[in-house]
Assembly symmetry: C2
Homo-oligomer: 196 residues x 2
Amino acid sequence: MRQDVPLAQASRLLNHGPTVLVSAAHGGRRNVMAAAWAMPLDFEPPKVAVVIDKATFTRRLIEASGEFALMVPSAAQADLTVTVGNTSGQALAEADPPSDKFAAQGIASFAAQRIAAPLVDGCLAWLECRVIAWPDVTAAHDLYLAEVVAAQADSRVFHGGRWHFDDAPPELRSLHHLGGGQFVLPGASVKGRQAG
Amino acid sequence: MRQDVPLAQASRLLNHGPTVLVSAAHGGRRNVMAAAWAMPLDFEPPKVAVVIDKATFTRRLIEASGEFALMVPSAAQADLTVTVGNTSGQALAEADPPSDKFAAQGIASFAAQRIAAPLVDGCLAWLECRVIAWPDVTAAHDLYLAEVVAAQADSRVFHGGRWHFDDAPPELRSLHHLGGGQFVLPGASVKGRQAG
């Protein structure tokens, strides 16, 4: 069900505004967090923009590695998304013995194709990203721009270059954060038509 | 039904990833376009990020005025969204006599509170924005960062600092662009709970 997405279609994975997970790894450490503020930035080569707070352990790993993964979690992962968004990878890394969110929360992962960051099992899409350095912008606004160097998606709900949620069970829909751990899922679809 | 949104809550208007309309005005000219690539950038003062192509007439008006409005169109405005996204304000401005999308498409608008850009009637939310200048980033990536200086929303679906689509009729839901004029609307909502 996990299939490669042509890079020319990668922007479509984030086009409808889902909440994402962000993972990174460096020097034997790894982390994953949640982010609602992510969007496509270009079609081809595909690029993305994402806001990652200075206080996060993930940001330290991104700064060290120049890489991160964005993943589109499914509705079945709502609890996981809230949990990794509200726990500290730093605290786990400094515990004795050191741990991480993957081990502590039993989050299954698999290897990425082009970067070191681990990819979370059961997501609907995975985008492997390399940072395009804009250090002043990142320092001022916690904003990272990056190029997407590989992309995969669950072919049950993403095929032919777009999402198909109409026939998908609720657990195969993306999460869109309203606030306070409340998410809305994609529902009915409508076709807009250009006026004559 | 249109009510002011406290600036501290303004990020919530875009948090779930809706497609937006972008309007701008300068020197007696005005325009409106559609953009799927917009997101919050900060909480307070609220800031936003949006991608606006070099080829657009709206961008020329933003460059000249330093201001724009982001608006969250409703599902009832799907045709309007596609239409303003696929027509050229430049061509209308250069016609004889000159016109614009508001006149040509019969788009009703009202005055903003803090900026010159016109606000489109019938949207679900309106964010008035002043550009935070990052000219190198804008030149390289068509990306604008801006501070939100005023915000309003339709209180039937946004109140208490968040969207409430559960009880809303389909036409009062936001549009999330999948591609090719196909949008998905917010459907069921789920609550994520932090693991113990």
